[in-house]
Symmetry: C2
Subunit: 401 residues, 2 copies
């Protein structure tokens, strides 16, 4: 009684086929199966072109079909249209097109999920505001697909870097009673409010209260007020003083109503904590980490980064190459101020010793004074927080990453 | 102006020294530095033994010190005691003790952080309830250190498995308005309640309300009720139908007041979503994943697993070896019921077709009927949820992992 579970095999993806050094020519002649979503369909007199994307890379697989292919009637009946999910079997052949080295000569096509002309993401460009209203489909666009793949590469490179350097990953608590020394405004986490998604039936009088009209926290889930973490730092510190080098990498929350590209209510944060280390070790670690992940993305997400470089932020690849290859500079705060005061440049925000630096100052330092080298400014006066800063990184986040 | 950031180098840890196949003998004669925390100090007439742990592994480095070592006066003055953090330099020599192959003959010791006899974690065993009151120090105990290292290994192996198999990691939203088809009770996330950590100043009347006495959600942070995620599945599905194979691995929350070892208010959950796959692909993936991470932990956390096997749950290594090596069995629900009804065993919970299985039934199937092979029960009747089950895995979670 009972059967053995079958063997698990990695699926062959379009990235595997086209991602080699010769763009797939090494597989010419092989019978392959591609499964993915139709990006475009062009029916010409003698031949039909299907562009199929499976999300493993930005590139589509061009599938070329004659009317004698098995399942061709589904093209004629309209079942295969932009947005349809299909299974295609064919022979890989060298392509005559300039855009790709190989294409699939189709023997058989099967529709897994059909589509129709109302499918909202057709070939023409659509705005991000429009895509916000079709959130379930936007991962199928070039931009969101590329962001997902690059984000995935950055996350995995983060784990690889710290693991290879002997750090232990710590999952610090998300629900907490600690405000981590006031790192930010906190969200309250509670079961005291009747938790229905209908906004109309949450009467305030249903919230448990004491005879003084105060919220009765003893009746809340944890018996006292609880919040979303603003930082895992204090937890990480207790582990660093036991396991030596640790890092957190998890979601973090700030209830600050700032609508800028640098503020988010929810974001994933990396917090390395080094034991038996000083500020020099810390900057060396931060530098090595940034260079590692940037190099990883440039090496592993070439096509996606070229897409960003062309369509989202021109020059991003050059700037990231600077981060990966140039020596990072560390500059004491006082020297940075001196350098900025001497600069032959008019800044919007006036500057004096003791001020926090603005983006324009950071950009001047990295882009003009140090010619694209990332700069870490250290030894801040106590009045400012100590922070490591390099506007290249700020730019990187603005480049859709 | 400005200096280049120094090179980052991986720290040499006790695990690196003692972790090799010959227990460190290959490094005998080398001058090494160990940094860590004093577990015990034994002052004998001619020599002093310091057991130092740096959290990289369960093992301590035995440091042997004569009174002529630089810094020995700190032993005499009591600065070096259990719990102190120290920097030790010495020569690695073969050890005459039976417990280790090498020890460090100390040339110099520096106290980084002193301790005193009030340090609460002395050599004698302490209860977990006691450690709960010293949460900032418990990562320094054998149990919590081993749990942290094994948890880290499981998390990294999880990423490695999915990344090596072409899956894309998705960070599904933590704050959400979706209840994921009622997967569990939700926590409410809000800024409407005055967010002070002082339980005494949260007046109910300060919560914004409408003239009907209802909570005015339009004044909340997101302008409507928001909750902590109970599952990222729906998000993962939208990405799977664009990127093919994806997984989530992030914190998940259930506001269910069940105080069992199988229920947590906050836990990290892994949700793979496969495109163009059926139930056979799914069970094959789950099986391959479990075998991969279990093998990874058995190979990379030997010492910690032996500690669990001796002190926390006898037999855990054998059971995990079964998971890693034996073929998984898949059994239709109806066959499982038939097998249980025929069993010459009296169950506490009576059984009939349509019932959900209890732990005792799962244990009988895996441990007796299939002799330790993990079993996946599939094709549940619609009345039960479809679930993959194997009590080995439940046991694993109970083994302190």
């Amino acid at each position: 009684m009972g059967n053995t579970v079958g063997e698990f095999r990695k699926k062959l993806k379009i990235a595997d086929i086209k991602g080699g050094p010769d763009g797939g020519l090494d597989r010419v002649g092989q019978t392959l199966v591609v499964m993915g979503w139709v990006r475009t369909l062009r029916v010409q007199s003698s031949v039909t072109f299907l562009e199929v994307n499976d999300g493993s890379c930005l590139s589509n697989m061009q599938c070329v079909m004659n009317s004698d292919a098995e399942g061709y009637d589904q093209v004629e009946s309209g079942l295969i249209a932009t947005g349809a999910s299909i299974w295609v079997q064919g022979t890989l052949v060298a392509s005559q097109g300039a855009k790709q080295k190989v294409e699939l000569k189709v023997d058989k096509v099967v529709v897994v999920g059909q589509s129709d002309p109302s499918y909202p993401i057709q070939k023409k460009r659509v705005s991000r505001e429009f895509l916000r209203t079709k959130a379930h489909l936007r991962p199928r666009t070039n931009t969101f697909g590329a962001v997902a793949r690059v984000r995935n590469a950055l996350a995995y490179a983060t784990h690889k870097f710290f693991q290879e350097n002997g750090f232990v990953w710590i999952s610090s608590p998300i629900i907490t009673a600690s405000d981590c020394e006031g790192a930010g405004e906190q969200f309250c986490v509670t079961t005291l409010i009747p938790s229905s998604r209908e906004a109309t039936d949450s009467p305030v009088r249903a919230i448990p209260n004491t005879k003084d009209g105060l919220i009765d926290w003893s009746q809340d889930f944890f018996g006292k007020p609880a919040f979303l973490t603003v930082s895992g730092q204090l937890n990480a510190e207790t582990y660093a003083t036991a396991l030596s080098d640790v890092y957190t990498f998890g979601p973090t929350f700030r209830a600050e109503n700032s609508n800028t590209t640098r503020h988010l209510a929810e974001f994933w944060m990396i917090e390395p904590e080094l034991a038996f280390a000083d500020l020099n070790d810390d900057t060396a670690c931060a530098t090595a980490y940034l260079q590692y992940v940037v190099r990883h993305v440039l090496d592993n997400c070439k096509e996606d980064m070229e897409f960003f470089n062309t369509w989202i932020e021109k020059g991003i690849i050059d700037r990231l190459n600077d981060v990966a290859e140039k020596d990072f500079v560390q500059l004491p705060y006082t020297d940075a101020i001196e350098l900025l005061l001497k600069a032959k440049k008019k800044f919007e925000f006036p500057l004096k010793w003791g001020c926090d630096l603005q983006s324009e100052h950071e950009r001047y330092i990295t882009e003009e004074a140090f010619n694209g080298c990332p700069v870490i400014i250290r030894d801040y006066p106590k009045a400012c927080n100590w922070r490591s800063r390099h506007s290249i990184c700020g730019k990187m986040m603005m480049g859709g990453l």
